[in-house]
């Protein structure tokens, strides 16, 4: 699925790699830009203590398309040590979790969340997701808006089994700023949540929002053609910056140059098929790639184009109709994208929906089945695990139950694709951070202390 496109840009070489890999590197040392200083605001996340654990017997969906009953999962030193099936011999481990009648999956990953930058309580004082003062703000970083005490993180873990998530700026702007990927582990600081080694993304937005926000202010863009003109001029200016010596610090262009270098991934809010096709051409014009179209309710109309260009679609199961560009949303979207051979991710964009990505995936699967598209349960689980991890560039570390990866694991009390199932235990890097059977083994944010319902089941 990976491909490489080499684009000559004014004498400099910019290399864009597979959107979903996040592994791209400059083409050659001589042409590569001077390496930036160590990325500031670096992750200080450290895994919490973990016990070597064996879950057995248990049904397994490994996130990579595999699924089997009577299996086991072995976690050691915060990593997946091994997984096995009914005929493979499990290791001798003191701490055994009985998974009879239960199902294990990788930790669920939400590629599109605003937890922390639009936290609850949803008061104006907390509305930190859109720097809606200029149509292009690649200089802002979502991590500088995130409130780690957002109670939503805990609900996402307890009800949704979320262990990693990408927080994006909002979609008021054409270029909304840098995204950040977090481990869903409570911390006093955002640095303490940052996923170690995860690449930054940059949020872009098509369509109605930017033209409405800025047209409403009597400035460009006020039309879709204005959206593209502003984007293209911004890329042209960014190329000039990237081709220079980059010695003058310029936060906006540093982000854009990072995109052109293939180090920062594009996450593009885009609903309509025709606009996605235009964005794909814009990316080619300037030599970058789009990792993922988010909210892509019309991807089913261009599954072939998305496959050929290796762009993922992050979609809801059945949202539609709330704005003009969502009018053609259909429940079969995900299944039709999958049928076309393109990459599907189920996302939430919602502090409630993030608690039920498994159910949303199941709805999308069922809608496909009713029109004759059979997608296995194991593949559907990959929509909310490995596919998301690939699109976020963290698939070498998490997203599947693969030996050596982080032990980000959910034990469900039943079939995770059933409305009747909930997480029973959630491990992050092997540390047990949620246990439905232990009222104290769940996070309670500072905000909730001394308030009605502190520590309640939620």
């Amino acid at each position: 699925m990976r491909y490489r496109a080499l684009t000559i840009l004014g004498g400099a070489v910019a290399l864009a790699a597979c959107s979903a890999s996040g592994q791209s590197k400059p083409a050659s040392a001589s042409d590569a830009p001077a390496p930036q200083a160590e990325t500031p605001y670096a992750s200080t996340y450290q895994a919490y203590p973990s016990a070597e654990t064996l879950i057995i017997p248990v049904s397994v969906f490994d996130g990579a398309g595999g699924g089997w009953d009577n299996g086991w999962v072995h976690m050691k030193d915060g990593k997946i040590a091994a997984v096995g099936g009914p005929t493979s011999r499990p290791p001798e481990v003191d701490n055994v979790v009985d998974g009879t009648g239960k199902v294990v999956t990788p930790g669920i990953i939400d590629i599109h969340s605003h937890l922390g930058d639009y936290p609850t309580p949803s008061v104006q004082a907390h509305a930190d997701g859109n720097e809606a003062t200029s149509p292009t703000t690649p200089e802002v970083w979502a991590e500088h808006s995130i409130w780690p005490q957002d109670p939503g993180f805990s609900r996402a873990m307890a009800n949704g089994g979320i262990t990693s998530l990408q927080i994006l700026p909002g979609s008021a702007n054409l270029m909304g700023g840098r995204t950040v990927t977090l481990k869903n582990v409570p911390s006093r600081t955002v640095q303490g949540m940052k996923f170690p080694g995860a690449p930054h993304g940059m949020k872009m937005a098509c369509g109605e929002n930017p033209k409405r926000v800025y047209g409403g202010k009597g400035r460009m863009p006020s039309t879709r053609m204005g959206n593209f003109a502003v984007n293209r001029q911004t890329w042209i200016d960014a190329q000039q910056y990237a081709d220079g010596d980059r010695k003058n610090r310029d936060l906006a262009n540093e982000t854009l140059a990072g995109v052109l270098d293939g180090e920062i991934q594009i996450h593009n809010h885009c609903y309509r098929a025709d606009e996605m096709a235009l964005v794909i051409d814009m990316a080619k014009e300037f030599g970058y790639t789009v990792s993922t179209f988010h909210h892509a309710v019309e991807s089913y109309k261009i599954g072939d184009l998305l496959r050929e260009n290796d762009v993922c679609s992050a979609v809801w199961a059945d949202w539609y109709g709330f704005k003009m560009e969502s009018y053609d949303g259909i429940p079969e979207n995900a299944a039709l994208i999958q049928q076309a051979g393109a990459c599907v991710v189920i996302h939430s964009d919602d502090e409630n929906g993030i608690q039920r990505l498994n159910q949303e995936a199941a709805k999308a699967q069922a809608a496909g089945k009713r029109i004759g598209i059979d997608i296995s349960d194991a593949d559907v689980i990959s929509w909310i695990t490995l596919n998301a991890a690939k699109a976020m560039g963290i698939d070498d570390q998490t997203g599947s139950l693969t030996a050596g990866k982080m032990a980000d694991v959910v034990l469900w009390n039943g079939d995770p694709l059933s409305v009747y199932s909930r997480p029973e235990k959630v491990w992050v890097d092997g540390a047990l951070l949620y246990d439905a059977n232990d009222p104290k083994r769940r996070p309670v944010s500072d905000f909730e202390l001394g308030q009605p319902g502190e520590g309640d089941v939620k």
């Binding site: 609900r155 949202w319 709330f322 053609d328 039943g414 059933s418 309640d456």
Partner: protein, 434 residues
């Protein structure tokens, strides 16, 4: 609503996918859910005559004699009453963010309580068609609050593919007395309560023939609209969330003993569940709210509904959050409450209770107990056949009947789905594929 009227109306609506005909129907071999809170029954049978249920139960108890009309073998399928969703916007909008297509909120209107949702219902709305395909057969609708704490008068509708959507106009008044009501009233809950007291006072004067337009704050139309509220003949839906506000609203009944109230929202209802139960006031709650979205919902938990039901409160699901998907997600929300019954420390519902919370209970709260939302003799034949457990996310209706009339399940979405099942344009553009 009479089946033959609907049939006549349907034949006129040529532009719509229309219901074909009123039928006598007998459904056999079903896994049957009555909707009254009971567990599903194996080998269930439903007999429909002239748009009305004449029997629903285990086949062994069916009345003897040959069944007339269409026979439907529902082997391997489930049968339930149609979903009854309270407090929706169905028929009042096309596209949320396209203001000219949207009658949900009359922000610049001079009127509040007088606003009558039944006047704006578009029976051909795509959202009605999409919800119908999801098994929703009845709903109540209301406009949102605009310039006043009184949002206006709601209506009950059916979702049949015919022009005759209104089941009952002006069936309730909606007032907001929590955070949102406070903002509308001028910035404080005290202003909301003052506006409420004044409005009821002026309506009383209007009812007594003492209307003085110059001395009144309400418009004449708004005062007239509230007369049936103060007399108790029109239900008053009160939106409040936090425990203190719920208690304050329940206490209003000592001043206004005739008010026939329904509490709406009620995120912190579990904290005062005993008081709500003692009052006998029913509740329409958003079941999966579990975040402190604002300072009146600090105690929100998904166990709210279960705890209120355990305390004896009558609770219907409505006002669903968690996605822009509309009433068709009601079964998913109900199913989540069943899931909670397996979570230690949480309070959920039994399967039967959960189904009732989206069928018979909302119908009963809306004034249609025994008529809608339940498969019992004498009830309207609003029947859904599902390809699986109705509360399971993988299930969907295969047939939907309203008043005994089988409904079309096509809509804009299904037409798009059919067009884009493949991307083949080798002969002609997709625009010719229809």
């Amino acid at each position: 609503m009479k089946a033959f009227l609907k049939l006549a109306a349907a034949t006129l609506a040529l532009a719509l996918p229309t219901a074909v005909s009123a039928q006598d129907v007998t459904i056999t071999n079903a896994k049957l859910a009555i909707g009254d809170g009971s567990d599903p029954i194996d080998d269930g049978m439903v007999i429909v005559r002239n748009g009305t249920i004449v029997f629903a139960g285990t086949a062994a108890n069916a009345p003897a004699g040959r069944q007339s009309g269409t026979m439907v073998d529902a082997r391997g399928q489930w049968v339930s009453p149609g979903i009854f969703m309270p407090l929706t916007n169905l028929g009042l909008w096309d596209v949320g963010a396209v203001s000219e297509s949207n009658d949900i909120r009359a922000g610049d209107s001079l009127f509040g309580a007088a606003l009558d949702a039944s006047t704006a219902v578009n029976y051909a709305s795509q959202h009605i068609a999409v919800s119908r395909a999801g098994g929703v057969t009845r709903a109540t609708i209301s406009t949102g609050p605009s310039g006043s704490i009184f949002a206006g008068q709601g209506a009950a509708i059916d979702l049949g593919a015919d022009p005759d959507a209104i089941v009952a106009a002006k069936s309730f008044q909606l007032v907001l007395l929590g955070e949102t009501g406070a903002r509308l009233a001028g910035g404080s809950r005290v202003a909301a309560y003052a506006e409420f007291a004044n409005a009821l006072h002026e309506a009383k004067a209007y009812a007594a023939g003492n209307w003085n337009a110059e001395a009144s704050l309400l418009t004449r139309a708004d005062a007239a609209a509230l007369v049936s509220v103060i007399g108790g003949s029109q239900k008053l839906y009160v939106h409040v969330e936090r425990a203190a506000d719920i208690r304050a609203v329940l206490a209003l009944r000592s001043t206004y003993p005739k008010l026939d109230m329904v509490l709406v929202g009620v995120s912190e209802g579990w904290i005062v569940a005993d008081a709500i139960a003692a009052s006998g006031v029913p509740v329409i709650a958003d079941p999966l709210d579990n975040l402190p979205a604002n300072f009146e919902e600090l105690g929100a938990t998904q166990s709210n509904v279960g705890r209120m039901v355990d305390a004896g409160v009558t609770v219907a699901l409505g006002g669903l959050s968690g996605g822009i998907t509309g009433p068709r997600t009601a079964p998913q929300f109900a199913g989540n409450l069943v899931a909670l019954s397996k979570v230690p420390g949480a309070s959920g519902l039994t399967w039967g209770e959960a189904l009732a919370s989206i069928t018979s209970i909302p119908a009963e709260i809306s004034g249609f107990g025994g008529k809608y939302g339940v498969l019992k003799a004498g009830a309207a034949a609003d029947v859904v056949i599902w390809d699986g457990d109705p509360l399971e996310v993988s299930s969907a209706p295969t047939k939907v009947f309203i008043d005994g009339i089988e409904q079309p399940l096509t809509n804009h979405q299904t037409r798009l789905r059919d067009r884009y099942k493949d991307l083949d344009e080798s002969d002609l553009p997709k625009a010719y594929d229809w």
